[in-house]
């Protein structure tokens, strides 16, 4: 079950939709997506300290329908709360690629915007949206819970108006993002998720999905296989 063709899920097609209520359903779905966001917080750096007050009794995110989830499979939003070192960025990317679309990324703190106080550091990835599409940035060092909630409300209104589709950018311009990743991690960088295969399967390919960087990837790419579970005795 490692080949994408075998996955028994229908892809969205560009067929003309005949249902007269299609628009109504779309709006309903967008509304529900904006009112129910499961959040995966990747707590790097100091911004994480502002999330507990935003979640608990003082500011209570749950009244907006935002609740924490623990695995990337279940989550909709990836919160990156602080500076991302090169080593951390690999983990953030693995997490991001495992999430199911539509998925949103929020960069909290100045460090994700432009490196912040780590601007001169050699070990820190400065601009987060060079490596993955970011929906909303919340600047500040660190932003207060009010600012975090304002940012989440901004994301909600974006989704409701149909603008929250930055995740498609990762498939459409995969070459660009992969190039930046390879620049940091070296040419043999490969994640377990076959992004190009997914883009093909779901019909999300763009002109920049393929390029010089994906060619490098194809040279090094090892075929995906199920990991064999062994018990060492």
């Amino acid at each position: 079950m490692n080949k994408l063709e075998n996955i028994p899920v229908q892809a969205k097609s560009d067929k003309k939709r005949t249902n007269p209520l299609a628009r109504v359903f779309d709006e309903l779905i967008q509304f529900c997506q904006s009112r129910s966001m499961f959040m995966l917080h990747y707590c790097t750096g100091c911004g994480a300290i502002e999330l507990p007050p935003a979640m608990t009794s003082r500011f209570d995110m749950e009244r907006l329908g935002i609740q924490p989830m623990v695995t990337p499979r279940q989550a909709d939003i990836l919160l990156v709360t602080g500076y991302v070192s090169v080593k951390t960025l690999k983990r953030v990317l693995l997490t991001y690629e495992q999430m199911q679309s539509p998925k949103y990324v929020i960069g909290i703190c100045s460090c994700t915007v432009n490196g912040g106080m780590y601007w001169q550091s050699y070990a820190t990835a400065k601009v987060l949206n060079e490596y993955m599409p970011v929906d909303v940035y919340i600047a500040g060092c660190m932003p207060r819970p009010e600012a975090v909630i304002a940012g989440l409300r901004r994301l909600m209104s974006n989704i409701e108006n149909g603008k929250g589709d930055a995740w498609k950018d990762y498939y459409k311009r995969y070459d660009y993002y992969l190039g930046n990743q390879q620049h940091l991690f070296g040419d043999d960088w490969q994640t377990p998720v076959d992004v190009i295969g997914e883009a093909k399967f779901y019909g999300l390919e763009g002109e920049e999905t393929y390029g010089e960087h994906t060619k490098i990837l194809e040279q090094h790419q090892e075929p995906l296989e199920a990991q064999v579970m062994r018990v060492k005795l």
Partner: protein
């Protein structure tokens, strides 16, 4: 002619009863989250939050399926509860309750855990495997007192039919007054059956990343959310039918089921969780003891 009307009546009931169960279950999920919020001095989610969650999960654009058994497992998990719902009499509708009886029902209540075990097994995620092994151990823990309680109740009423039990209770006295020990053991078992704190070890979000749900995305998670709402409903209606005299009217019935389901929910946020072996120990000690003494009184 009468047979045709009775068949259409039963078919309508088979459709209506799961729908009622689903709506009641959604309100129960909302109540669960609201109680959690109030105990933590928060406002809590808006009224339609469970609906938003389920619609959103079913409308995800990409899904990861780990294979056929993964898909079927979720269907079995939800289907087990849907099958259990049509065996539970509600005011005005008996479904096939008079043909099934409580023994069939207690078999049906095991199907969801087994279905989930099938589905999670194919995910090959270590956290999921740990979670489901804990869930099945927990099922073993609460099923022993549950079966003893069911046996005691059936002995007392001299019947295995839920319809008969409810009629007897409405004519005479509620079961909770006639067999208080069995009712107490049943309430204890309910806490385990609903998988709430302190018997929530198989979910354990911070330790094993929600256990069985770890690889569930989109529609699969949506299926589990639907399953949870059915689970609340089935557990509470079963308890109401056994001990609180079922429902004579809709008002009465809804009041009772929401009262019953509210007790474990309120308890659940006041305790940390037991480990699996402690859960087995406590479940096989106190409720079993209470239920056995209760049976001795009944016989």
């Amino acid at each position: 002619m009468t047979s045709i009307t009775s068949i259409t009546e039963i078919l309508a009931e088979l459709l209506l009863m799961p729908m009622i169960a689903f709506i009641c279950g959604l309100v129960m999920v909302l109540m669960y989250r609201k109680i959690a919020a109030r105990l933590q001095r928060r406002i809590g989610p808006p009224f339609f939050q469970p609906v938003y969650d389920i619609v959103k999960l079913y409308s995800k654009d990409t899904q990861i399926s780990h294979g056929l058994i993964h898909d079927i497992g979720i269907v079995v998990a939800v289907g087990g509860y849907v099958a259990a719902v049509i065996l539970l009499p509600i005011p005005g509708m008996d479904g096939i309750a008079d043909k099934g009886g409580i023994i069939t029902l207690s078999y049906f209540l095991m199907i969801p855990s087994l279905g989930m075990a099938l589905g999670v097994g194919q995910c090959a995620n270590p956290n999921g495997s740990i979670g489901i092994s804990r869930a099945l151990t927990a099922m073993l823990a609460y099923d022993i007192p549950f079966i003893i309680v069911v046996f005691g109740v059936a002995t007392h009423y001299q019947s295995t039919s839920l319809v008969g039990m409810i009629e007897y209770q409405q004519a005479h006295q509620w079961g909770i007054f006639e067999m208080p020990l069995l009712a107490a053991a049943g309430l204890f078992t309910l806490q385990g059956m609903m998988g709430k704190h302190p018997f929530e070890i198989y979910v354990a979000p911070a330790e094993i990343a929600t256990g069985p749900m770890v690889e569930m995305s989109g529609k699969f998670m949506g299926g589990l959310f639907v399953m949870q709402s059915f689970q609340f409903y089935v557990a509470s209606v079963l308890y109401v039918s056994l001990f609180l005299g079922g429902g004579s009217s809709w008002f009465d019935f809804l009041l009772k089921i929401f009262f019953v389901v509210e007790i474990p929910m309120s308890i659940s946020f006041l305790f940390p969780r037991y480990r699996t072996e402690d859960m087995v120990r406590i479940m096989w000690k106190w409720p079993v003891m209470a239920a056995l003494i209760g049976i001795a009184f009944v016989i």
